[in-house]
């Protein structure tokens, strides 16, 4: 076994109920001014632009140095990679993931958030490195139970960072075809935060007949009412950084098409329609 594997530092993390994230680097880096570097993963072929630096405290009894990402520090939405920066101008070192104690996030959807709504979920990349998935939205609609029955799709939502007016709207917007929208029927709970909407599967299936690829996608938005701009419906207030292949809904045949609600790679709620005929 090579020695560099034995001393390669790992970073563990703990998220507490308030959303504070504590990173621990073990074994403790020797350089006193060592810091953690968070780098927002840029779009393909773009340079890295956004980074954050966190100070590492002194080594504790378990030969571990920690850095705190306070809850007030809002990170722009995206995926962040973690590096160790031993010296200010030195070479950075990507960090492998140690244990992630995310138990406080599991029932995160049960806690109400105020604006802006921020969420961050530490996760392990395919290569075994620690990364952070973040969301940051002025207002947020957290998707809940989704029911497919009697020719309809019904989904529950809860608003965070905004309250609904008396007549909120839920729209499904056809991706790639500006202007094509479908209004759903909406019910509002007394607290102006819980909503549910119902859309007809036949209406959702209709555009597939004309789609050249035989496939089309609806994205779901809420307009709470008043001056609040439309809010994308998503689900990210728990511990799951990537929901797409974990929480999967059935495909319902409607005429010559299949309709299936799903979570995108960004945990946003969409509905995919595939022509079968």
């Amino acid at each position: 076994m090579s020695t560099d594997q034995d001393i390669e530092p790992r970073v563990d993390c703990t998220v507490d109920a308030d959303g504070r994230t504590v990173f621990g680097v073990h074994p403790a880096p020797a350089a006193p001014r060592a810091r953690l570097l968070l780098a927002l993963r840029p779009a393909k072929d773009e340079p890295e632009r956004t980074t954050r630096l966190l100070d590492l405290g002194p080594a504790d009894g378990t030969h571990r140095r920690t850095a705190v990402l306070p809850v007030e520090q809002r990170l722009p939405e995206g995926r962040w990679d973690l590096y160790l920066l031993p010296e200010p101008d030195g070479e950075r070192q990507r960090l492998r993931a140690g244990p992630r104690d995310l138990r406080a996030l599991v029932d995160g959807a049960a806690r109400d958030r105020s604006a802006p709504v921020a969420a961050r979920v530490p996760y392990v990349t395919k290569g075994g490195f620690l990364a952070l998935r973040t969301w940051l939205r002025d207002a947020h609609a957290e998707a809940g139970r989704i029911t497919l029955a009697d020719g309809t799709l019904t989904a529950r939502l809860r608003l965070h960072g905004a309250e609904s007016g008396p007549r909120p709207g839920v729209w499904l917007r056809l991706r790639g075809r500006a202007g094509t929208e479908l209004a759903a029927e909406v019910r509002v709970a007394a607290d102006h935060r819980d909503l549910s909407f119902t859309a007809s599967l036949a209406d959702l299936a209709a555009p597939a007949a004309a789609a050249r690829s035989g496939r089309c996608i609806w994205d779901v938005f809420v307009r709470p009412g008043g001056a609040v701009p439309p809010v994308r419906v998503s689900r990210f207030l728990d511990d799951l950084a990537d929901r797409k292949d974990i929480q999967v809904y059935p495909e319902v045949p409607v005429g010559e098409a299949l309709v299936r609600p799903y979570y995108t790679v960004d945990n946003d709620l969409s509905v995919v329609v595939t022509r079968t005929g």
Binding site: M1, D6, D101, R103, D107, L240, D245, Q247, V248, Y249
Partner: protein, 421 residues
Amino acid sequence: MKISFLLHNAYGIGGTITTTFNLAQALARRHTVEIVSVLRHRERPHFALDPRVALRPLVDLRQEKEHPLHLRPAQVFPAAEYRYEQYSELTDQRIGACLEAIDADVVVGTRPGLNVHLALQAPAHVARVGQEHLTLDNHPPRLRTALRRAYRRLDVLTTVTEADADAYRRKMRLPGVRIEALPNSVPDPVLPPADGTAKVVVAAGRLVPVKRYDLIIEAFARVAAEHPDWQLRIYGKGEEHDRLRALVLRLGLSDNVLLMGPAAPMEAEWVKGSIGAAASNFEPFGMTLVEAMRCGLPVVSTDCPYGPGEIIQDGVDGRLVPVGDTAAFGAALLELVRDDERRRRMGRAAVENARRFAPGPVLEQAERLLERAVAARRAGRPAAEDRDPVRRVLVGQGFAARDAVHATGSHALRTLRRGRR
């Protein structure tokens, strides 16, 4: 002591590899320990190995896959062993040469075929400890016959459960061989245990038919109907994945049952739950049960042969239900879901009771066994004294005769069965 473990492939993934690494690393604090890996197919092992444990591969498949000797069938490694196809004249030679020159007080074999090598080829001054991670009753008769001949040349034979140790004592005549159950150990968790408040049931393992995740999902449907805020999370990958997904969709459980994919280590995932679930039809030990318990989860498990019944104390730190009984499994889950206090109490008991599988206690027992084997070898006496040799001989011979009939007659039996179809 100088201790050598003889392992099939230290570079793979599996329960035997994990448990061998755990034990080797624990022993390395006070002894000189190496792992001899018969095969190697990649640069580094999947699981990081403490540098105090030396790792020595014998056949490197990256270069020697087409070695002329590797294309010829093995002669020493028993033909009835499960992994026979992966062994060859080359492995025969390398293992033989390794054992002949071995500089160890005791060698530990970790699967039936390697125990046979050890029994037949270890030098006379080296103590021989065979470990069985599978079970005697599930070995095919031809393998049992081969082991019956070879294992009497061992000093110590360990199984992972008392039930299996008992099967060896009753059904094999191994005079002088000390047979003892040595459970797999699970390292001390690094995270605080679960507190029993999360509304999550967790199951984990390879997604293969014998693990019966389908039964867990069907049983959980009852929980979801009564408590829609509870979740079932299944971790792992395997051939059953798509079938399990289809079952979740068919039962309308998309909001409650999540197929999480593989997670290693599992510890951070166990502590997100408050009940563990395992529904295997057969489980030689049940490593995930111990892992879950050490993380503070009471486990609902089928009472299948052999492990669960020796790990879980029914009603105290978990529940045992009959194999294949979906209704009983669902009822046991519901009972823990409904009663917060009972669930938390059993979770605390699970942490307490699973401590016997910590590396410490298991290490002490392993050390005692290895020392006993070495001392017996040096003194030229058997490691175990038979208390009732006459009875043992008679009973053992009965099982031997039956296996021999099965072994020689299995071809004829198969022919007969085919004819009947």
